[in-house]
């Protein structure tokens, strides 16, 4: 009986050690790969973010490093945000020249539509991109630039062009196109872009103020 227990114990110990060795080798493998790939991945992510920002705000508009001008924005109704969002301030020759805002269209057909909106110093939209959405594939997903050029029609628009009565999809008597059978999605996007322009108009003075950083020597 005693010998049996001993054998069982020895077996359990042996199995445990083997499992431990496998876990150790697996962890080492992961740690090594992570260590090797992390800098490359971070660089790729930053480059991607820059590329995305330059899609909504033309690179000719600014000469500062957009990524380091990042500020957080508390939740705001005009932006449709329920959580802290981010904005990036563009400057050229030290002068305020534009802004990139994160906004949310909360009333899409299926859940939130996340937007990135570029606005120049005059309050004119320079570009809009959908960064995440769950609209129906093949129906409402034409708001995605990868699927169609629909979202390009916002470029050049502002609070006065068109006026507030026409900041709507064509079906509601506005100026923005939409496709038959899927108007809820574009309606939400149009409303969100308009809201972001409103937000910008309210806070423009604060954005245009010179950076509060340490004065240049």
């Amino acid at each position: 009986m005693r010998a049996q227990t001993q054998v069982a114990l020895k077996n359990a110990l042996r199995t445990g050690v083997i499992l431990f060795v496998f876990a150790l080798v697996g962890t080492a493998m992961l740690a090594f790969t992570h260590d090797r790939t992390e800098p490359v991945i971070t660089r790729g992510q930053l480059a991607e973010k820059r590329a995305l920002l330059s899609q909504v705000l033309p690179a000719s508009l600014y000469d500062n490093d957009l990524l380091s001008s990042q500020q957080s924005v508390p939740p705001n109704d005009r932006l449709g945000t329920r959580q802290t969002s981010t904005l990036w301030l563009a400057r050229r020759g030290g002068e305020f020249s534009g802004i990139v805002l994160e906004a949310v269209a909360p009333d899409g057909y299926s859940g939130n539509i996340y937007l990135l909106i570029g606005i120049d110093a005059d309050g004119t939209v320079t570009g809009v991109r959908v960064t995440a959405h769950r609209e129906t594939p093949g129906l409402g997903d034409y708001i995605d630039r990868a699927k169609s050029a629909w979202i390009d029609q916002f470029a050049g628009k502002s609070l006065t062009n068109p006026d507030a009565r026409h900041w709507k999809v064509a079906k509601d008597g506005g100026t923005f196109d939409s496709r038959a059978g899927a108007t809820i999605t574009p309606r939400a996007v149009v409303k969100a872009v308009h809201g972001a322009l409103d937000y910008f108009a309210q806070h423009r003075a604060a954005f245009a103020a010179p950076p509060k950083k340490e004065p240049d020597a």
């Binding site: 199995t15 083997i18 496998f22 697996g26 493998m29 992961l30 790939t37 490359v40 594939p137 093949g138």
Partner: protein, 225 residues
């Protein structure tokens, strides 16, 4: 080493006799979710094949050191570690491809077909055979995914290969086939129920074909005739 016959029977097994999608009905969750167009289906199929080949090879290589009682946790550990390594490496070195496949790669860990092949085949066979078996199984799955993707994309959107530019770059945009021009789309085919219906039809066709073959065999008539 491996004989030609062995090789052929492994492939016959993977592609037809034990086809994961049509016969074993394993790993259906990614199969149904991703097969809404040809490009997605093909990409996921090939990624799964790659992971399966790597994990089956690794499992087979260590099979003699793994006590029977803990083989499942060890295999899961190996598969998860390999998938993570592939995931990180793809993210770092082939980023454009990662953007397309990225969300699917971690899903492959949960695909039971990978563990099933590790346990049912790789744990009992030599590495070369195990890798070939995994590739054959992977191709079988890819084939079903491809057919499903083609059916759903054609019925749902009237196109084939839409989104191929995401894999091969802007230049490939012209490769998209608009098979049915001015087609208004059939949403059901693209949504998950479409996957169940199409897969059901495929399984029925496969079973029907097999039943017919068996009948002919009994009657002594060659199937091809």
């Amino acid at each position: 080493m491996m004989t030609m016959n062995e090789f052929r029977s492994l492939f016959h097994n993977g592609l037809i006799k034990q086809n994961t999608g049509l016969v074993q009905l394993l790993g259906l969750c990614p199969l149904l979710a991703i097969s809404n167009n040809v490009v997605n289906a093909l990409s996921l199929g090939l990624a799964t094949t790659l992971v399966m080949a790597a994990s089956s090879g690794a499992v087979s290589g260590v099979r003699n050191f793994v006590p029977n009682e803990i083989r499942i946790p060890v295999f899961v550990l190996i598969i998860a570690a390999l998938v993570t390594v592939i995931d990180l490496s793809m993210n770092a070195y082939v980023h454009p491809l990662y953007l397309v496949l990225g969300i699917f790669i971690p899903l492959i860990t949960t695909n039971c077909i990978v563990l099933a092949r590790a346990d049912a085949f790789a744990a009992k066979n030599r590495p070369l055979q195990s890798v070939v078996d995994a590739i054959a199984m992977g191709f079988g799955l890819t084939l079903v995914l491809l057919v499903l993707g083609a059916i759903r994309e054609l019925a749902g959107k009237g196109t084939l290969f839409s989104g191929i530019d995401l894999v091969f770059g802007e230049a490939a945009k012209g490769w998209v086939l608009h098979v049915l021009p001015n087609y208004h789309g059939f949403l059901l085919a693209i949504l998950p129920p479409g996957a169940f219906i199409a897969l059901g039809l495929l399984i029925a066709a496969n079973n029907g074909y097999k039943a017919r073959a068996a009948r002919h065999a009994r009657a002594g008539v060659p199937v091809a005739a």
